[in-house]
Structures are given as structure tokens and as C-alpha cells.
Subunit: 220 residues, 4 copies
């Protein structure tokens, strides 16, 4: 799996603090982009996060390039609707190599069988293609383990929501790994904004009730 932050809104923390300042004061557009020290920005951001006034965080967005993840993972990923996706098409692109994800829980002889099975599925896929079946139809034989590539853009407010659900231990391991890698990248750019991001247990009580894993996570 590879997760790379390929774009983000420049000076994101300044923008969030400035937009929030506009809501609550008489300043003009010119002013809000000036005279806001790092300390003042951080103070604003902390206050907004604490009050749950999250709309200013929508002004900044982050674009990730992700590859080496399975179609299991992307089928979950694209359920997030306040997001933009560009995914490698299995209709327009045909595959020569068996790039796939093996869940860590599949070990030893099962793993060997899994690999053999998956390699065979690629061979059958290639046979279908060669006998004239379109890639969009041949792919029905491909296991869900097959890799895909995706470009994802989310604004920071949606990232809060995404990290809350997908960094949680109750999320499946694969999308959790993606989410944690995304959070790590986002934090480098906007450390104050994402300081409390992650599973809800990093900053408060677990909301999962009887389904709780019972193992609170630490901040990344």
C-alpha cells in the first residue's frame, strides 16, 4: 500500500482561522488574511474544534494518491459521499500482472493456496481477454483482493468524520491502514487542525457501546 498526499490547500491553518474570524468580527476580507499570528490561529482552531463549529474546516482540502489497495477497500472507501474520487477503471484498463492484497490473517498453507488461486484467476482473466471478452466482463472472475489505484480529495471536516470511523479498531484493517497513513500525512501539514483526529477514543469515550473493542487508541 502506498498513500501519498499530492495536493492540499496552501496555508490551511491560516485559512480556517481567517474564515472563522470573518464570522465573528467586523474585519474585512483584506484583514482576515493578515494580522493573524500562528498563536492566534492555533487559539482559534482549538476553540472551533472544542465548540464543534466545524464549517470553517471545509475550506481546506487534501488530495491523496493511493495505490496497492484492494477493491474490498475501495468499495468501502467510495461510500463516503462528501468526497471526490478518480479510480483506475477495470473497464478501460486490462491487467497483465496479479497485483493483489492478502489479509494478514491468512497464513501458511492457506496463504500459499490463496496465492496460487489468485494467480490462476489472473490467467483465466487473460484467457477471457484473449478470446475477445471485454475487460469490463472478464473482471467478473477477478477476486476482490485485486489491487486498484485511486485519487481521493476530501475537505478537513469530512476527513475528521472519515478518520473517526476508519481509524477505529472496528473498521476493517485495510481501510484502517489507509486512514492512518492519510492522517499521518495530513498532520504534517496541519498539526493543530488534526491534533485530535482519529478514532473517537483518542480524545474521549468510545461511542460503540457493547461493540467497543475496549482498547483505547493513542494519538498518531
Amino acid at each position: 500500500m502506498e498513500v501519498r498526499l499530492i495536493r492540499h490547500t496552501p496555508k490551511p491553518e491560516l485559512l480556517v482561522a481567517s474564515a472563522a474570524k470573518l464570522c465573528y468580527s467586523k474585519v474585512g476580507i483584506e484583514d482576515i488574511t493578515k494580522n493573524l499570528s500562528r498563536d492566534k490561529q492555533n487559539e482559534f482552531i482549538k476553540k472551533l474544534l472544542k465548540m464543534g463549529h466545524l464549517s470553517p474546516f471545509e475550506h481546506i482540502s487534501f488530495t491523496f494518491g493511493i495505490e496497492g489497495i484492494s477493491r474490498v477497500c475501495t468499495h468501502q472507501f467510495v461510500r463516503h459521499r462528501i468526497a471526490s474520487f478518480s479510480q483506475q477503471s477495470q473497464r478501460y484498463v486490462s491487467f497483465d500482472e496479479a497485483e493483489y492484497v492478502i489479509p494478514p490473517a491468512i497464513k501458511k498453507s492457506l496463504k500459499t493456496k490463496f496465492e496460487k488461486y489468485t494467480e490462476d484467476s489472473l490467467k483465466f482473466y487473460r484467457q477471457l481477454i484473449e478470446e475477445g471478452v471485454a475487460p469490463e466482463d472478464a473482471r467478473y472472475i477477478l477476486p476482490q483482493s485485486f489491487c486498484t489505484k485511486i485519487v481521493v480529495t476530501m475537505n478537513a471536516r469530512e476527513l475528521f468524520h472519515f478518520f473517526g470511523l476508519r481509524c477505529c479498531n472496528r473498521a476493517q484493517w485495510e481501510i484502517r491502514e489507509v486512514a492512518e497513513a492519510m492522517l499521518t500525512e495530513a498532520k504534517k501539514i496541519a498539526p493543530n487542525i488534526f491534533s485530535d483526529s482519529g478514532a473517537p477514543c483518542v480524545k474521549g469515550a468510545c461511542p460503540e457501546g457493547e461493540l467497543s473493542c475496549g482498547k483505547p487508541k493513542k494519538r498518531l
Copy 2:
């Protein structure tokens, strides 16, 4: 594949016409739900569709129960973001039977091999489950042809958009079949609203340019 309309906003055509009437006249809420004959409703609906004033069509929604479609199809389906989905989970539900979709283009000996291959994948999946692998991980071996079930709700404006893309010959055959079955059901309930729905070519020029299939479709 089975597509069933399981709910819809009652009296949908009256509601759309009433909401539109509110925008353009002095009437009150009480009035807009009365004194609007079928003829008047139809006239309003035609006018709105012609002008592209589509927001009143958002007030009515349709809920479909769909089963016997592949994960290929639902991965496309859930890309529609102005929609609500409840899909049978491969994390919480494990499978005993090989229910799957074979693309019509896979015929004869290839079809036999496809069937054999898919049955074998279920056996391997069952073996993984029995050796203690969780369903969420065992499913990585399942081909994308495996069936799933989904409940989908969209409002009429989003259905217009969905039908425009997915009834088009350039959409893949499986989601096109779903879309056409949905349109057929929706039309029974709101014939005036969906009279022009479907691929763009049913009511005008093809927008696909050089990618056009060159075979304009007829109204369903």
C-alpha cells in the same frame, strides 16, 4: 436480478407541482395541496422539465430493493453520492451458496470454466471460514461476480441524473439493466415526471461525441 420499488413519496406528481407553484405564486401552504387538477399538475411538470427547473423534483424519493447483482455493479452504484444505500455486509454475513452473475458475453466452454472456477472459489472461501478466518478477510478470495443485495433511495432529480448516465448504451450492461428496471417501476408511479427519463438520446442529441454508440434508444 430482481428490482423492486418498495417505497415512494405518496402522490409524488401533486407534490412536485405544488412545491413549484409555491415558488411562483402568492398561494399559501394550504392552497398548494389543493385545487391542482391532474391536468394542471401535468402542465406544471412539463414546464419545469422543459426549463430545467429541477429542484422541485427533489421533494419526492423512491426506495428500491435490489438483489442478484454483482459487486462489480454495486461498486459502480455507490459512486452516486446523492443517494442512500444499505448493502448486505460481507463483514457480518458469511455465504454458503455460490450466487453469482455471469456476463452474457461469456459463453460455451468459457462459461463452464467460469462456473467451475466460481464454485471452487466458494469452496475455498468456506475452507477459510472453517479454519477461523473472519468473513471480512475470507471474502478477498471471492470473485467480483458474487451477488449482493442493496436498498437504494434516490430523489427524482438524482434519478434523472442516474438514468441519464446508466440507461445509456455506454454504461455497462449490468447497471444498465438495473437502471432500466428502476425506470420502469418509477414510471408506473409518476409517468409524467419520468416521461423523458433515460439515456439523453431518448429526447435529444447524444452528448457522447466521438464515443457515441450511434444507436439512439427509445423511451422505455
Copy 3:
């Protein structure tokens, strides 16, 4: 102010419970709409609400007709983006009568002056219209107190969010009155679904921190 529930998805509690059941069991579409007793439905709904698994609540929607509210109120209202609105246009409709909202805090002589001022503004508006100014331009003179009418559709998940923000004592009194009237109506139709709806304090701690009003509300 008048708030009327003019449409809702039929049998909303059964639909939510059925959609949720589909996610977690092997049942088919046919089954989910049957064999689900009222007790079983309620049990499902309680569980979903407790776990915060809110997506099944998106399948049901509610349409309200609202009149006698100010443009102050609708400017706040239409900020809710997961919603559909049809509002009486001040571009296409011109006004003869001064229908307006007076905040309860404006009393006695101030109220008399407020009324006089508003009546005068209508007269000036009428003069502008009569001298050929279009309603869309004449309205610039109208105070924000002037009444408007609106049809609003939201699904239950968005209603939860809306009620959480707008039934709170920190919301302005006018939209709070609208929200409470909407909740009262919705509760008649789906009492289990909306049992815990309202300001967050009806079922737990106030999230407003130092801005808290300190007066927890009771369930409607």
C-alpha cells in the same frame, strides 16, 4: 408561523428496520419487508440509534410546508445542505400586504415603531413597483422581518442533525420554534425514530462547553 407535515415515506419505521436487517443477515428483499413485528422494529431502531449506525435512517424522508417565517429564518434554514427547498420567490412574486415577524424581545413603544417602520417599507416597496422597478430590485428595501413560505424535505438522518443544532437554546428563537414544530410532527409519525431527537441535552451532556446555556431541555 405554521408548520405542516405534508408528506412522509409510508411506514417509515418498518423501512428503516428492514434496510438495517438487510445489512446484517442473509434475508432477501422479499423477507425484509415481512416478518418484522412492531417489537422487532423498535428493537432494531433502538440498537441503530445507540450504535450511531445512522445510514438506514436516510431512506425515509419528511416534507414540511412552512409559512409565516422571516427571511432571517430562511437564510439560516437553507444553509442546511442535505435538504431540498422550494421557496416563494421575491423575484417572481410581488407583495401587497405587510406580513412580517416581530421578535418577541421587541416590546411596547419599540414594537409600535417597528410596526410603523415595516408598514412604511411596504408602502415604499409598492411605490417602487408602481414606478416600474422590478420586484427583484424593489425587495432590497424590504426588512428581513418580511414573511416567506417554504417547502422543505429532509431525510431522518439529516433531521437528527437539524434538530440537534436548531432545537438547542443557542439557536435563534425563530428557527428553534420551527424545528420544535417539525419535531412534534415527525414524532407523531415515527415515535421510536425521533424519541431521542432534539437538542443534544435531551439525552446526554451539553457539547457547547463554556457557551452552554446551562438549562438542559426535556424531550418534546
Copy 4:
């Protein structure tokens, strides 16, 4: 009115072209950000626009700071739901000066009366404030002409939609001026992406039917 572009996704045209390239080819994330000449980018962008394959344009967003526009204008503006807004609050900010918009159609003596009337409304507003009425309630007396400030973020796909509606001669003059100023700014940054943006008539037939103004616009 002042419209200022205060942030945008860096290298927006490269990102759109790269994301699109990922969908249709075997390249990896590393590759898509390289080896894409300006010419190749432009070619991709033209093709995507022509086919109406608009999702890659969602990856880039633009943030505008806007001041000196009326509450008439922002009430229309915030109806766009695929957008993020931070608006100066009339609940938390009180006003000392009568900053307002006069529609150009209001001339001569009417204009003088308009100005007098608006100045008086500010005086009454100040009186209400001084007698202890909260700004959120005092504002009911303020005409809709009063100015507000807003920070708006939209992605390019939504900007296409916004410009299509709001640069049209059928839009009200004030939001049309805002939209045209936004388009002018966006074009400086991403000239290929916005080359055909604006009212639909800049690149094709008017879709407004009998309501058409009959005066096709030129590209900005």
C-alpha cells in the same frame, strides 16, 4: 463589491489531467504527477470537458473572499449546496455603519429616498441595540440591501454549474456580477479548465426556451 480569490489548489490543471489519466491507464500515482507536459494536460482537459466526464474537476477547489454584497445576494448564494460558506454573522456582529447595495435600476429621486430610508433603518437598528435588543433580533428591521461578507469554497465542477446558472442573463444582476468576477479570477489560474465556462450560451444553444433573453453572451 469586492471579489478576491484567496486560495486555490496548487497546479490545478496538472492535478485534473493526472487524476483523469489514472482512470484510463496503467500508470501509478508516481507517474501521474510527472511526464505530463502542458500540451498533454490541455489535451486531456479539452477531452474531458467535451465528453462531460467532469469528476476529475472536483479535485481542485477555489476559495473566494467576497464583501460588499447584499443579503439578497447571499440568500441566493447559499442555496448552492456543494459548496462551503463562512458568512459574517448578524447574530454575533452588530453594525455601526449603513453599508448597503442600491440596485442600479433605482434612480434619481427614488434613489435619494432609498438612501434616506436605509440610513434611517440603521438608526432605528442602533436604537434597538442601545435599548438592549440583541443584534440577532434588531436585525429584523434591517433592509435586505445591507451588506455582508462571505468566504466561499467550491470545487471546479460545482463552479461550472454555478457559472452556468449565475452568469446567465436570467440570473439577478448582483449575483451575476459576483459570478463574473469569480470566473475572471478562476480563469487567470486555470485558463484551460474555465475556457468554456459561463452562461450556457457562450458555447452552445440557450437552454431556457421561451424564457431566453435572446442575447447570447461572449466568453469573459
